[in-house]
Amino acid sequence: MIMNLNEIEALLKRFYDGESSLEEEQRLRDYFNQEIVPDHLSSHQEQFRYYNFAREEKNPQSDLESDLIKKINLENIGKTYGKRHRAFYFVTGIAASILIFIGIYFQFIADHNNTAYSMEDTYEDPEAAYAEAKKTLLIVSEKFNAGVNDFNKFSSFNQYKELITRKN
């Protein structure tokens, strides 16, 4: 695109007055991007060439964009993982409640009809029942006392311990 000097100078004036449009500014940058401009315009050239240069600049020491993409994808994986987790908890929750209901059904409701496990009297005669119960309790207390006898060894242990602590 060839522009005459008058046009360029008019555009420059609008530019420095802050009145140029984006298209006009683009034309100025294009014009000054060429190698050779008239001497009296050369001091403007660097400003426009710098603008052209600066819009392509990025940090040469890192790759911010791929870092950001990585982060976004990580966030995303975290989100779907969380969703799957929640679904898993929901389903296992339902399964567990079903199991509990089945358990309750067999424990209480189904057993109700099965008389084999319900409480029943085993003796007709109360005297015989009493005698049997007394005999059972005696055996228990005997075994219990046998166990308690072993604890007497501890009291002698305590005596010696007291002797030692008193010496010190």
């Binding site: 802050g18 660097e46 710098y50 603008y51 819009r55 040469p60 911010l64 982060k71 976004i72």
Partner: protein, 171 residues
Amino acid sequence: MKSEEFIEKVLPVNRKLYRFAYRLLANREEAEDIVQETFMRLWNKRKNLHEYRNIDAFAMIITKNLCIDSLKSRNRNVMDVDSPFNTKDEVSPYEKTELADSVMNARQIIDHLPDQQKMIIQLRDIEGYSFEEIAEIMDLNINTIRVNLSRARKKVRDSLTKKYDYELKRN
């Protein structure tokens, strides 16, 4: 907004945000941190992003505010010699291309403009935002922006002209 849409529609603004932050802070690492923070906030708002007419400008507002906060805390820490905020990056060897050399003067002049003029030049002459968008980002009216832009452009022109005249006389 799903991640694919987010990557397609929101992510590309990251370069503009980085250049803006780097212009203001003159520190690459800090500029990157601010862009990362901006994207974290945008990501957290992804459900409502459709409501914004101009996501680009919205992202730029977040970055601008983070930069201004950072500059404020830098001023607070100015007495602290060891503060990491006092470091300004040197131009890296990667950036020292022939092209970069030929525009180094313009770059330095813009870097020494007042923050507000620096931001307006960055948004208009480098990133090509419309006056309406710049008004939204800077929270200023369009006329103030035109006036400041004009001032900044003339300063760049005058400083460059002085430099060229000086070099002409010297040769």
